[in-house]
């Protein structure tokens, strides 16, 4: 019970003495995590390092920046650009819509069943990605999809207005199907963490509703909100199955270019493939460094 009051470092300090006491048996200590470390090295870290090193080598294995420079060629640059656009759009839209839904079910005064139904459904939908999701959206917004057909029967021809499910907006709309629920699942505990007492305390001090939101609620959920946006970004940036099943290769996002390169060396330069992979890790890595940083900052408030 007293654990609640202990902050992270203090709790870690409490468990230190036994570890020190058994420092004599260091080799057996490390044996316990050896399988995990070996697995992680062999199947996660080394394969990634292999690609990263390859990105900075030419065919003969000498160091070069040529592959990185070649990423700027029009097709690859366009692929990165559209990937970033789709990821930014789907993560920002997903985050704001998800936040709105989470606030509605936690604070909106809706009956209790809406909350449990939303959370259950979000758990499912956040994992419902990949090829089947593409099928669902083709059946909905494809040329013969139900919504397309219904709208056409009342005189609104989506495709005449330039909409296409195999496009930037089509892909973004599809990605939202797992982005919004993921946001709901992650942000709801953060909103739960806002205690009623804080609102009462603010009101006692004479704060208006707006001041309470601006000076209490938003600062508290901000880090975890921003962190989740970044997680959503990485989530859609690396996704390929949905886009591939939806658009074939008509919309060239980065993972699809890389997929084609792995299958058949379409760029005629193996090391350029490594460079594309490196670029992807670089972007999601950058995003995740921010994520971890924001996450640790926000967890201070959610104890």
């Amino acid at each position: 019970m007293t654990d609640i009051s202990l902050s992270g470092p203090a709790a870690a300090g409490k468990t230190l003495p036994p570890a020190q006491a058994s420092a004599m048996r260091l080799p057996t200590q490390w044996l316990g995590v050896a399988p995990f470390i070996i697995f992680a090295l062999m199947f996660l870290i080394l394969p990634t390092l292999y690609l990263i090193l390859g990105a900075f080598q030419n065919v003969d294995g000498a160091f070069t920046l040529e592959n990185i420079v070649e990423l700027a060629q029009p097709t690859i640059r366009a692929a990165y650009w559209i990937s970033i656009k789709v990821s930014v759009a789907s993560s920002l839209l997903g985050a704001f819509i998800g936040l709105a839904i989470a606030i509605a079910i936690v604070r909106g005064g809706l009956p209790n069943w809406t909350r449990s139904a939303t959370l259950t459904f979000s758990g499912v939908a956040s994992q419902f990605a990949g090829v089947p999701l593409a099928f669902a959206f083709l059946a909905t917004l494809g040329r013969l999809g139900l919504v397309t057909v219904l709208l056409r029967s009342v005189g609104v021809d989506l495709y005449q207005y330039g909409f296409n499910v195999l496009s930037f907006w089509g892909l973004t709309l599809t990605y939202l199907y797992f982005q919004i629920p993921l946001m709901v699942v992650i942000i709801t505990p953060a909103i739960d963490g806002i205690r009623k007492e804080w609102g009462e305390a603010a009101a006692t001090l004479g704060a208006t509703q707006w001041q309470y939101w601006r000076m209490v609620v938003i600062p508290v959920i901000w880090p975890s909100f921003l962190g989740t946006v970044i997680l959503l970004f990485a989530n859609s940036f690396g996704a390929i199955a949905t886009a591939y099943a939806l658009t074939g290769s008509s919309l060239n996002i980065v993972p699809i270019v890389l997929y084609a390169q792995i299958r058949g060396d379409v760029l005629h330069n193996a090391n350029l493939g490594y460079a594309i992979a490196f670029g992807m890790i670089f972007i999601t890595g950058l995003a995740n460094i921010f994520y971890i940083w924001f996450r640790t900052r926000s967890e201070r408030w959610l104890k």
Binding site: S22, F39, P47, G123, L146, V147, P255, L258
Partner: protein, 263 residues
């Protein structure tokens, strides 16, 4: 407060519409296979397709092996970190989060280049080796979820006391992990297992690039060549995901409350 409630309802209903319309549309589309009437013809065709049965079975088996590998890898590690090497926790947690940073396509690309037939560890030179690599890749994908689930489970039990008690009774490490720790975190492990199953069953990228006859590539293939069957498959996949998530939710009711929560 009145208007707040109104907007809450509007948000909820709009959200529900966005999430249910595609499901309804897919359901409707999947039943249109016979001209002029609704039928379950597409489902009959899909479920009767031997390639469906083969690829689905393949993926189920792969998922089961993935879960076994994941449990063998994660439970002893998470346990040992809690018991003896708490100073290593940040490192291990960081590693388990890496699969969220490194896209699956990059990981499998690395495998293909590192474990090709003329490498020192030629996983890809035989069918069994490639299957093993597929399971390993899946275990890597599921690592963040499995580790989190197990670690949360371990947080609710007193690892040190249980271990000492077992040691006093003369138990060795294998006995402690398999007969004391594992049963105590079984619910957490099962949650992780079902989540792993949901992730792995329709996985496309790794299976496709390793040329495995799995369910994901089969789905993609059907999607490229048929009209109504994909919609039926999407509904089936949704039901499978729903099933896995429901099991997790039911299991969580049996889980002991986390010691860190003040409620």
């Amino acid at each position: 407060m009145k208007s707040g409630k109104f907007w809450a309802w509007v948000t909820f209903i709009l959200g529900a519409a966005y999430f249910f319309i595609p499901l309804i549309a897919t359901m409707e589309f999947s039943m249109r296979m016979k001209r002029g009437e609704y039928s379950f013809e597409a489902y009959r065709v899909v479920l009767g397709d031997p390639r469906f049965q083969e690829s689905f079975t393949f993926s189920v088996v792969a998922a089961v092996f993935t879960i076994i590998l994941g449990v063998l890898l994660v439970v002893p590690t998470a346990y040992w970190i809690r018991l003896r090497l708490p100073q290593l926790r940040p490192v291990v947690e960081f590693v388990t989060l890496l699969p969220l940073v490194i896209p699956a396509i990059v990981i499998v690309f690395g495998y293909i280049r590192m474990y090709g037939s003329n490498s020192p560890l030629p996983f890809l030179s035989s069918d069994m080796g490639t299957n093993a690599l597929l399971v390993i890749g899946y275990a890597t994908l599921a690592l963040p979820y499995m580790y989190r689930a197990v670690d949360t489970g371990l947080r609710t039990i007193d690892v040190r006391t249980l271990t000492e008690a077992a040691q006093i009774l003369g138990a060795g490490w294998t006995t402690i992990i398999s007969r004391v720790i594992l049963p105590n975190v079984l619910i957490a492990v099962l949650s992780g297992a079902f989540l792993t199953f949901a992730i792995v069953i329709g996985e496309f990228t790794i299976a496709s690039l390793l040329n495995r006859p799995a369910f994901g590539p089969y789905l993609q293939n059907i999607g490229a060549n048929r009209a109504y069957e994909p919609a039926a498959l999407a509904i089936i996949a949704f039901v499978i995901t729903w099933g896995c998530m429901s099991v997790i939710q039911v299991l969580s009711r049996f889980a002991p409350k986390s010691a860190n929560r003040p409620n």
